[in-house]
Symmetry: D2
Subunit: 339 residues, 4 copies
Amino acid sequence: MIFTFKKDTSEAELQRIVSELEAAGIRTARSPESRRPILAAVDPVPDETRARLEALPHVDSVTKPRGSWRRVDRAFRELPTVVDVSGVPFGARGVAVIAGPCSVESEEIIGEAAETAKRAGAHVLRGGGFKPRTSPYAFQGLGKEGLRLLKAAGDSSGMPVVSEIMDASQLPAFLDHDIDCLQVGARNMQNFTLLKAIAGVGKPVMLKRGLSATLKEWLQAAEYLAAYGCDGIILCERGIRTFETATRNTLDLTVLPLLRQWTHLPIIVDPSHAAGIPALIPPLSRASIAAGADGVAVECHPRPAEAKSDGAQALLPGELATLVAETRVVAAAVGRTLV
Amino acid sequence: MIFTFKKDTSEAELQRIVSELEAAGIRTARSPESRRPILAAVDPVPDETRARLEALPHVDSVTKPRGSWRRVDRAFRELPTVVDVSGVPFGARGVAVIAGPCSVESEEIIGEAAETAKRAGAHVLRGGGFKPRTSPYAFQGLGKEGLRLLKAAGDSSGMPVVSEIMDASQLPAFLDHDIDCLQVGARNMQNFTLLKAIAGVGKPVMLKRGLSATLKEWLQAAEYLAAYGCDGIILCERGIRTFETATRNTLDLTVLPLLRQWTHLPIIVDPSHAAGIPALIPPLSRASIAAGADGVAVECHPRPAEAKSDGAQALLPGELATLVAETRVVAAAVGRTLV
Amino acid sequence: MIFTFKKDTSEAELQRIVSELEAAGIRTARSPESRRPILAAVDPVPDETRARLEALPHVDSVTKPRGSWRRVDRAFRELPTVVDVSGVPFGARGVAVIAGPCSVESEEIIGEAAETAKRAGAHVLRGGGFKPRTSPYAFQGLGKEGLRLLKAAGDSSGMPVVSEIMDASQLPAFLDHDIDCLQVGARNMQNFTLLKAIAGVGKPVMLKRGLSATLKEWLQAAEYLAAYGCDGIILCERGIRTFETATRNTLDLTVLPLLRQWTHLPIIVDPSHAAGIPALIPPLSRASIAAGADGVAVECHPRPAEAKSDGAQALLPGELATLVAETRVVAAAVGRTLV
Amino acid sequence: MIFTFKKDTSEAELQRIVSELEAAGIRTARSPESRRPILAAVDPVPDETRARLEALPHVDSVTKPRGSWRRVDRAFRELPTVVDVSGVPFGARGVAVIAGPCSVESEEIIGEAAETAKRAGAHVLRGGGFKPRTSPYAFQGLGKEGLRLLKAAGDSSGMPVVSEIMDASQLPAFLDHDIDCLQVGARNMQNFTLLKAIAGVGKPVMLKRGLSATLKEWLQAAEYLAAYGCDGIILCERGIRTFETATRNTLDLTVLPLLRQWTHLPIIVDPSHAAGIPALIPPLSRASIAAGADGVAVECHPRPAEAKSDGAQALLPGELATLVAETRVVAAAVGRTLV
């Protein structure tokens, strides 16, 4: 249950309620919301307790979350959360574009990718140092050195950077190189040890949806981050696994407007991994923004044919520029701007 | 294989090639394309035959379809097909809006639905006479009488009408009442007897994608219509069945831009059946147009709470008007208009 | 709601209850069960009506079906239904084997297939006259002539025959040739017009599960047959569509024991269409029987390489004989026999 | 490519070929097979190199794996691999039964569970110390203390133990308590950091299939284990995620016989997580053995209603005893025994 209080509720009154709940073995969570107090009961609340609290003069409304999450529920915040990635806001009026190659391959290529992405209008640079590959014999990324090159390319092009973290043991490398946003990949969405480990380090986290994760499981994974201290969570839809094989995955834009009702977190879309075909990425980016996404994350590469991973789905620099321009027009059509 | 000929190719030359192929047991199909001759070999063409034809001076190009279809392949037409539904074009620059209740329930309600849909800006009226219901004990529709009421409502509001046909035995009812477009529902997409029966009656057909139909199966079903004489096929994506249960189905916009490459047929989207939740329909409509759809088909009802079927997913008249207005803006953002 | 009465309940008492329910607008269905009266209320029963009926001295128990079906619910019969296919029982202690080619191709081949299937130990001969093919250009079956050849082969080998009916218009052909069991294919599971048309002709119907049909939808389709007069329904699991592409479909044996709880109908399994690979068919047949299936339906062909459809998944005569022998051993291990 | 050599091939000859391949940048792997030398080329082998090697007098056959794995391919071993879990063989003629509660909850309960499992005929004790839970607020397991209690219960009942490891940081706890087999759960199947970390510690690993993992991805994950030093890999099918919601997951027995052709690894089945309903577990266990599984892993609990996790799907001790007895009979029917 999530309890919204009237604006003039005193801290003493709130503490009294918290104490009462905790005394009954019901853990609570306090919303960071500043406009008025909001409190979530983490554990189930007996009906009579709920009724009694609902009748208190300071309690404005009581909302039942649609799942076992609390902190990421829409009712836990008055306004949608805006996540700041080193100056780039996600979840505000402006739509953000994240772009970059699948993996960091060399200083030269990531530098060139960064320059062309920046010129094309992108706001955040992406690139993988640690790569989860289905085959043990495939290129596994440059590791920590990849993160160093990524950060340097971001710095020289003037963009914050995001990169995938696969395991808690990699965390020092991400912190050493001050990676601006930690990405949790689809395969690790339910790697709870990882989620707990990165939640408290003070970095925004982009949480990709698992390949076969339901909306509920996705929000529960986000709740792990929130419960362990992360206040900068960005959800990223990247396609789900279905029976259709004509495309790599099926982008599930159907859940986008539903997520708006269920959570206060910003939501972006990665059409590159969903489609797996460059020609599909621009129309799917437009569709994502039209469906209400707060941003898109796309793969681009100065020379896709030479890419060591996922080259076949990377956009060329010119295609990225067109995509950004189109995204701007569609954003305007739905009452938004680019960041 | 699909053979595109140069503009000055003589009819005699074409006939010679057709005869040669047919003599080798290879059936052919002639494109209705008027700008230059296009010919499809329905049956497999041996490599040497293909090479010989490709070398002929009048043959401009030879294209291999991506599946076992021929007539619906992109290469079978120079320009995308525009399907005329009694004055409303599907597949041209203008985007069309189909609206109406799930089923025709009474003269009064369908009349009111038609008036409000027309005022909201819709172009085609939908409504079911024959309803496929999962339970034998649920309302099965008014049948032929429903078609009469639908047509009357369409006439008085000035809109052509579309309705679902479930079986060839219902065809006379559709023809008697001059239903402008025959809809084949998701459950019947591979009802080949039905497809063959309705292909030749001179009516446009809106072919919904089956709940678990691949892109290839969908185009093969469309090929049945084309092979048996239908030249007015409209494809309609309406959501596929996935593991996600938060929404009724998952709208597969990922395949929309792919269909543009694979076929010359117009493609519309039905977000009502995909989402099953009214609040999701406007953003999904916008996303569909942004992804390149030629139109949307949505359910609306003057009083959803009283609807005998699918009321829970119907838009109110005012919501429909807003949807049409938003669709217009997004259409403009991707270089299109409303019809 | 399904009401089970005590054995000594008089017909007059039953009629009184039926009249009372019908007067309240609640349709009823009477179970063919002979041991004691069972009555289903087709429409929803208000709580107070239910409570009052439950309190009547002759009412033994009241069961809520798990879906919108009534007549196929487990509670509608005391004992599981045994369906007689011209002498071969489905649903009794004996397990039945249906075998034959995908389609009837010639008198010679179906005759040879029938002889070898019979010798291998099969009980029912299968073979398609009307074939639903995804491509309009593929072999569509011999039609009515195919049914004639199938029946003749069944007669001369001493086996009843089963064949797929795709449309009500084909029904006279099935009746003319006295096809012993009508098969409704996966694509037509929700072709309600077809279900209604064939339910009342006095023939057993084998209802295959749709490629993406839930258990509930499958039982609702069966309920259509039951509601329109069919008392010989056999369910056939044939694999569902999933993301896995290594096999043609995924055989869903998980639902088999659940169906035992939910319905009184016999259930068989078609591993040929599920697997699509001959080597997988024997182990999947064994698994089906071990999971509780009342029979298996497999494809076999005297010369698979020459088959006009689905040859790649057909068993050779010798393989079929081994499969039947193994099935017999596994049936014994779970307390059953072969028919 | 996998190269099988004749029995009399000298070590010098093998080394010569390895050197030649490595000189061309092609990494190799040597099979532990003792009967004759088998060598896999990890990287792609150019056609001409392959042809030349194939023509060598000592090369008996060359096999192309069906995916990017090498060491787990069927062709890499002469005989199926038998994995020894502290005295219990997996993959030999005997079928093994793993049983125990979802999580270790107390010394008393795990002790009682172990005693009853042993008496019922189980061979290996399971129980979770570290539990991956979808909600951060659910019971997360007793951690290291749980492993201690599990091992003690295994020791006193005379059974080796298996428990799930979620992260490399937990490895010392597993080694300290000498857990006999490390289980990688469905959510971690593609947690490559974890796979690499546990592959080399000399413990058998039971690798569960991911909820939406294809057969190919599963074998690629197993290849990670093999490539990093694990020679005791057991695959465990535990149900995949499909559209069907009547059961928790869909047990994919269709792939079982296919895995026999593709890999030499033992394969067991966990019907508890697939079905989620106790009554389904015995028939699905029988079906698994009939389909060729080398064992089953089931959940049981002395008092399911009191279980802190997954109690609703746990078998009672008596049910487990019946299951083991039935499994024995079905195993005999397919030419096998219990361990």
